[in-house]
């Protein structure tokens, strides 16, 4: 298409080998992604979200404390608007609750977040759990 039009008899007959290499890469990528999606649609995991929340670290943060966590979705579906709740328990008594929302947690993926507390979580029993989500 960069050929000038007055030379219309001169058709571009062939391309250098490296260009065909790139074309082959293109073919592999197009076919590969289509087949990957078909595989996901047919044999893919469609189980509901299975959420695991793990404490990464507990740090002092200004006037309070910050609990950094990592949440992993081991299920086959995406959880949207996933709410994570952290509670500090003193025996059976709930002394403080904090919560946050993870916008999207795709299947077999992880996201990180943090919860602020005014009491030191290291002095109490810290529980983190996912409380709910919606389907995207």
């Amino acid at each position: 298409m960069t050929k000038s039009s007055d030379k219309k008899d001169e058709r571009i007959q062939d391309a250098p080998l490296w260009m065909w290499g790139i074309a082959l890469l293109g073919l592999v990528l197009v076919l590969g992604s289509i087949l990957f999606m078909l595989y996901g649609a047919v044999i893919g995991d469609t189980s509901p979200p299975d959420i695991v929340v793990r404490v990464e670290s507990i740090e002092d943060a200004g006037s309070g404390f910050l609990v950094m966590f990592r949440t992993i979705n081991e299920g086959g579906s995406t959880a949207a608007g996933l709410t994570i709740e952290g509670t500090l328990m003193d025996g059976t008594e709930n002394v403080e609750t904090s919560n946050t929302t993870i916008e999207y947690l795709p299947s077999h993926s992880e996201r990180k977040g943090g919860l602020f507390f005014t009491l030191d979580p290291r002095q109490y029993e810290l529980e983190l759990r996912a409380t709910g989500y919606e389907e995207p």
């Binding site: 960069t2 000038s4 391309a15 197009v30 990957f36 649609a41 893919g44 077999h108 993926s109």
Partner: protein, 308 residues
């Protein structure tokens, strides 16, 4: 012919009309216009330059979608079967555009161009998504491939359109291919799907549909049709045929406007369905959402031959 300060679109537009009135004249002018190109050209076709154009086009056409958060999310949560189907149609569009944009090429080279455009599209999508921090460690393979594959669609279409956009030289054969009625309808469809694709991932399309009453929707259909008619009448204008005659009006309206709008509406619905935006929504709201998305799609369809 090419005056400084004249926009690219005007330039394309003008060359289109000139080509209508006198094709050989247009070719001469086109040659003069690109004299510096032809003089620089060696006997070998410059494939490296084509590749550079592909990269330019891929970035130029795709960055609004690369920077749309709904697109990142759709990459992992949209229905896999619908994504596979969408990827297939996208490749078919790239292949057909390669044929329509291909001036003096053999069929083999047209297929090569399409595949190279796809390779460029996937590369640009991958690099940009990494660069913007949208793909990170800790994400599953499904999420990463989903995001790249979805973003590769506008990138690949951008890449194949690039050479025409960045180097507006239309050869006789290319002009002949683009002149056919079916080719024109196809280009209208590409314009429609491209603009619909830019907006369909956003929440706003459905939201606007909810906010509009049936009267609003009917008026929007009317405005979309008027807008298409105005653009298409100016594109289809022939010398010696008065542009404000009833015959010309109905000719354009029945042959292009109404058909183009039907294509735009159907493609709007298809894109909304692909992104799962119409799942579990009442039929009336689906129609309204399609009409809302049909507005940009109609604009894309009507102006497709100017911008594609």
């Amino acid at each position: 012919m090419l005056r400084s300060g004249k926009s690219k679109k005007q330039h394309l537009h003008e060359s289109f009309f000139v080509e209508k009135t006198n094709q050989s004249d247009m070719v001469n002018k086109s040659n003069n216009r690109h004299k510096h190109h032809t003089e620089q050209q060696t006997s070998d076709h410059n494939f490296a330059k084509d590749l550079a154009y592909d990269f330019g086009g891929a970035i130029l056409f795709s960055f609004p979608l690369l920077m749309t958060m709904e697109m990142w999310w759709l990459g992992f949560y949209m229905d896999r079967l619908r994504l596979a189907l969408f990827l297939f149609w996208a490749f078919a569009i790239v292949l057909a555009l390669s044929y329509l944009e291909g001036g003096e090429e053999t069929f083999k080279i047209e297929v090569l161009d399409a595949l190279v455009a796809c390779a460029t599209g996937y590369t640009v999508a991958t690099v940009m998504l990494f660069l913007l921090g949208i793909i990170k460690p800790g994400m599953s393979l499904d999420e990463i491939i989903g995001k790249i594959a979805l973003h590769a669609i506008p990138c690949s279409i951008g890449a194949i359109l690039a050479r025409r956009q960045l180097e507006a030289e239309e050869t006789k054969k290319e002009a002949r291919r683009r002149e056919g009625y079916h080719a024109k309808l196809f280009l209208m469809g590409v314009g429609a799907i491209f603009l619909a694709f830019q907006l369909a991932p956003t929440e706003e399309i459905i939201l606007i549909g909810y906010m509009m009453t049936e009267v609003h929707a009917a008026l929007l259909v009317l405005v979309s049709l008027c807008m298409m008619q105005a653009f298409l009448a100016s594109i289809e204008r022939r010398p010696k045929v008065p542009i404000f005659s009833a015959g010309f009006f109905w000719n354009v309206f029945l042959r292009y406007t109404i058909v183009g709008y039907a294509v735009a509406l159907l493609l709007s619905f298809y894109v909304l369905w692909t992104f799962g935006r119409v799942d579990g929504i009442a039929a009336l709201d689906i129609v309204k959402a399609s009409v809302v998305l049909g507005f940009p799609a109609a604009l894309g369809a009507a102006t497709a031959r100017l911008i594609l």
